[in-house]
Amino acid sequence: MGRGQYILRRLVQMIPVLLGITVIVFFLIRAIPGDPAIAMLGERATEPALERMRHAMGLDKPLYVQYAYFMRDLAKLDLGKSTRYGVPVTEILFTRLRVSLFVVVYTTVLTTLLSLPLGILAALKKDSLFDNIVRSAMMVTLVMPSFWVGIMFIILFSVKLGIFPVSGYGTGFLGHLHHLFLPSLTISLTIAPILIRALRNSILEVMNQDYVKTARAKGLAEQSVMTVHVLRNALIPAVTLLGISIGGLMGGTVITEKVFALPGAGALLIDSITARDYAMLQAGTLVFACLVILVNLATDIIYSFLDPRVRF
């Protein structure tokens, strides 16, 4: 099986998972105590409007018909109207998603910049003072609540030192980079420890492999041994882990966006809970889940390019 077929098979495998997600999201909104129509339209909705909503949602019909309606609307990208904003949820959601995606990409870059040198150095200087400091620091950052880190960053860098803005998204690319540095760093600190540890362990493992010993024995310069033989192989599991972490990171953005008052989709999701804007909550959950699946798919595909041994 070639790579094309492999990608096709992975796409086909996504279908049941995507269907499962729609089922969960579908039932989520029906798990709300009380009338889902009131949940969708708000407490102040008039009886005729509620009646129309009940009919539109098919609440007077069996569950499988309701699900079919839900899927039909979904196919048309019609995820309902926001009770809070009075416009289709997709309109607001996709605008806000831009901020979240900026944070996700920025965090990925920062995490890579942080983990690569630290992981490599910790492995090369195994059991040294540096290695021990890195490992201890990782243990601490891993258990820090991210919203607390965010608040501490604001106290230190924004309030005391005045280097970074307290909140907001900024204007223009450079403005975004400046405004989103602390939020992205906050999320980075929760992922980087996992990545550094994985990188360190896989480098140490690869360095013990026979082919590395052979490379050394045949008199290859240490630098070539490291770059050509060790790093190339040790990076593969780290890339996979980074992919998985980006999936988890989507959750992290929700909290960080609230801490730094960013106009992102994560903050929108939380605000929709307080505002009882269930159409928005439903759409947000669905979109975030789909993004995670896409990232996981991308990770698998990148992995197949990186590691020629991958069996398709």
Binding site: I24, V140, V143, I151, V254, I255, K258, A289, V292, N296
Partner: protein
């Protein structure tokens, strides 16, 4: 010439490498992380239990004459915007947060164990259905799904437990399934089957004791994760509610005063970090202890 065999034996035992296998306690005692972690955890539990005796003030007592006081001898961690003593609240917070962490981990652990064992042991349709369900739940970002469930069920720790049970079991199910797949083909299982043991007995007496260790290590680390989760939900207004002295609630309450009174948010956060470190020490120590070959 007579040979003193007892002396020879003892020599062989002590100096020539034929050591007696160490008892579990001996091995545990040599595990620095584990002992340190367990010791500190015991201390933490003791503090939580004795909080009413240790706390210098009532954690709920308002004192409008002493609001936003910085840390001092009178108030070790300072006071908050309502004049409440933060040190006392942090001590009482240990009761809530430890309980939340431990309760949260129990249901996903049990559900994951049962479903993972069924999937791994029986294979076939049980495996297919359970693992597809795992795939679907896993596709959701953990926090988003927990938030969504808590959102529709209503805020509060009770609903957080339910949400966590519904979402977090997949980790244990995958772990147990994977290990059972390896173990079930080993000789001791086949021997048990050959002497007529029932499936239930094989799982309970032979497989589970062999596969449970990794999950226990995960569960220890997960307690810290759920304390973090509870704090995060409190921050988002979905977990414990003020005036509960839950650490996350305290951090959130202090957020409005970060420019003037950093201690309100900073010190409860440190309590979470310390608890997390203690649990990581135990988790790492247990991993070394239960699987010495993985060191």
């Amino acid at each position: 010439m007579t040979v003193d065999t007892s002396q020879t034996m003892s020599l062989a035992g002590s100096e020539h490498g034929v050591r007696k296998p160490r008892s579990a306690w001996d091995r545990a005692r040599r595990n620095r992380n584990l002992m340190l972690g367990l010791g500190l955890f015991a201390l933490l539990v003791l503090i939580a239990i004795a909080a009413p005796l240790l706390a210098p003030f009532d954690p709920f007592a308002l004192d409008y004459g002493n609001t936003l006081q910085p840390p001092s001898l009178a108030h070790l961690f300072g006071t908050d915007h309502l004049g409440r003593d933060i040190f006392s609240r942090v001590l009482f917070g240990a009761r809530i947060d430890l309980r939340v962490g431990i309760i949260s981990v129990i249901s996903p652990f049990i559900i994951g164990m049962v479903l993972g064992s069924l999937a791994g042991f029986y294979g076939g349709w049980a495996d297919t259905y359970i693992m597809r369900l795992v795939d679907v739940v896993q596709a959701f970002p953990f926090l988003i799904l927990v938030i969504a469930i808590v959102a529709v069920r209503g805020p509060g720790l009770q609903n957080m437990y339910i949400a966590v049970a519904l979402v977090a079991w997949i980790v244990y199910a995958r772990l147990v399934r994977g290990e059972i797949l390896v173990e079930k083909n080993k000789e001791y299982v086949q021997a048990a089957r050959a002497i007529g043991s029932t499936d239930w007995r094989i799982m309970r007496r032979h497989l589970l004791p062999n596969v449970i260790t990794t999950s226990v290590v995960y569960a220890m680390a997960d307690i810290a994760l759920y304390i973090l989760l509870a704090a995060a939900l409190s921050f988002l207004g979905l977990g414990a509610k003020p005036p509960t002295p839950e650490w996350g609630v305290m951090i959130t309450e202090g957020r409005q005063y970060i420019t003037t009174a950093w201690w309100i948010s900073a010190l409860p956060g440190l309590a979470i970090v310390l608890t997390g470190i203690i649990l990581s020490l135990i988790g790492d120590g247990l991993a070394d202890f239960l699987r010495p070959e993985r060191r």
